[in-house]
Subunit: 276 residues, 3 copies
């Protein structure tokens, strides 16, 4: 029999907070296989956490997935559990963090508020629900607790959603935006190659595009003339390219460089792509 | 039967040193469940390590806990093992690192110096006792080795202690200090709410205090007028608050901000709290 | 029976990429004990990755070791597997990353190109071979797959090697270089104490040397007059020393300081050591 699987993502950083949650989970579910996704999500950056979760959990075994990027801890924001079509349970705050990954796992089968005091730590603080509520409830589910027991059913339509911009065809080009800046400095963009192709036609290797960024802050749009490429190997070292990333999304990078640093671009920046 | 539990904290950072220790432990105790607390403790910062250990290990199963923040490696400082009242064994250098967590685990039952050459690596370097002494001895204990076998008994009163400032009532206020700056930039302070209440009276939400920091370096004290709050949610975004942290200690933070960065405050800074 | 052992090193950083690979491995080999060496290797720094691997894997149980520092992903560079004399299998790109650790494990017994499509993910991207090729093949080997099944045998002499400078005696001194700067800022140098001793004679504690660094960038060589020391404890706080590191190599450090930051020295810098 395989060990119950728990994955874990937070913005807790390098302190001992993530380890404390792991200790709480192991005290309840000593055989659980707890896999850290990342604890280096930018502080309070719910969108970044939602993105990282959504691209990661689909590669994991079915299990319980705990995510805590929770600037509203201790306020009226609800602690929730979401049962997905694939059979996973997602545990975390009702602030939009869990919705993209729920969609990636086939959608929400059932949503519940976390109310079961028996499955929480005896004393719950108002600032560390990761330790006091989310971790112990996840561990109780991992050892076979029924999802129904976490608390009352709620309407999935009542869940807080992030305002995540998509990709929109306009005037012969595509309006997109930077969804995430990865640690290589590559820009993960809204939309997939099919979105761009339906706006501009076939995407042959080497076809050139003008990509406009911004406005960000007080600067006007920056623009670059770059090729579509199938692999980084087609591009000179340090030069930019537009490509399909390994998750099937549009992306923009400097070959072995850090384009986010070079252009000073952060997630949320508007991006417009049009044929050169 | 559950797997033997080992926790592990160091200032080794992102190099492979922590993984090497894990390899040494697994070679001796292949079934051990080794949980990293943190390997990002500030280099040589014994106090930071002692604090992170002391708040973390109480949440873990009883086991062996290895900690290495060891600027004195290769000098006359003793390698030690401490048996705690809870039943854990703490392994590390005799430089104060292990004493706060020993206290949190009920106090020291027995202290021994690590001398058993059979349980160390065959060749011990003078700069990497984490690998050569602490990890293999911890692993031997984890697979059932007797604590008595690590080496001679020593007097707990002979152990090196950190000079950790506490909280002291004075002139209608409380003298405290910054014990740790967490990765959110929140200031973990010496003392608990009861210390403050006994100095100033009841701590109602919204009651205002003047908090003075410093002197640090060549600057005089900085002071801020802030409310006592039960939750971050009571406070405007970016504004400071005085509160009880999730470990029951006094703490100071900006709501969703980084107060340590804003005020330029490091651990060790003196803090004085008085009614406004 | 012990769990199959997989170690894992990348330059993927704090995003979820390393966790995704772990998920892929666990989906195929649910009982595998996957140990992270580091995912903080400097981006694209093949030499740094090769060094960290070579000092770490010898401390691990025999197993499968996956390493991905892969600036050439998606180009003609070959994905390879190396069977070592010790019995390990190394999996990664053919860019020199795996050769120093192969040597540390007794040398290459057999080299093969990774071609087995059945052991890869169904769809392989051109930018994330860690997930699509290296991880699943490593996991198939971990659950008992035969090394012969990964793909065709290749000539070890055809493998891409790094140009790693060694230590050379010249004019009564030793020419070395900085192989790696660790997270303490200590400089790990090419060569071992015997190399230095054969160039300059006996290395007694306290014997003084002139160590020249550079030229780096537009600066001329920097030089310092330092003692050879057996332990950091022999040296005043903050002062430099030349010593044998815990892996038996030459090294240069400030006692409890960061000499790389103080002198502005990076890996690759030339180092010349001569008697003072």
């Amino acid at each position: 029999m395989s060990r119950p699987f728990i994955s874990f993502l937070t913005d807790f950083g390098p302190d001992s907070a993530a380890a404390i949650c792991r200790g709480v989970m192991l005290s309840i579910a000593p055989k659980a296989n707890i896999v850290d996704i990342s604890h280096s999500v930018k502080k309070y950056a719910i969108r970044d956490g939602a993105y990282l979760l959504s691209i990661a959990v689909i590669w994991f075994p079915v299990g319980v997935h705990v995510a805590v990027v929770d600037p509203g801890v201790g306020t009226a924001r609800r602690p929730i559990g979401l049962k997905t079509q694939r059979g996973d349970v997602l545990i975390g705050p009702d602030n939009g963090l869990l919705l993209p990954v729920a969609e990636a796992l086939g959608g929400i089968d059932e949503a519940r508020i976390l109310e079961n005091r028996e499955w929480m730590l005896e004393k719950t603080s108002s600032t560390f629900h990761g330790r006091d509520i989310f971790s112990p409830i996840a561990a109780h589910l991992a050892i076979g607790g029924k999802f129904e027991a976490v608390g009352s059913k709620i309407d999935p339509a009542s869940l807080v959603a992030l305002d995540i911009p998509g990709a929109t065809a306009r005037d012969g080009g595509l309006d997109s935006s930077v969804v995430y800046v990865d640690s290589f400095g590559n820009l993960r963009l809204a939309g997939v190659p099919a979105d761009l192709a339906s706006a501009v036609g076939d995407l042959q290797s080497g076809r050139r595009f003008v990509v406009e960024f911004g406005p960000t802050g007080d600067r006007g749009p920056q623009s670059e003339n770059v090729p579509w490429a199938r692999t980084f190997g087609e591009i000179e070292l340090g030069k930019p390219l537009l490509y399909e990333d390994s998750f099937g999304h549009l992306a923009y990078a400097d070959n072995q460089g850090n384009v986010a640093a070079r252009l000073g671009i952060a997630s949320g920046t508007a991006v417009r792509i049009r044929p050169a």
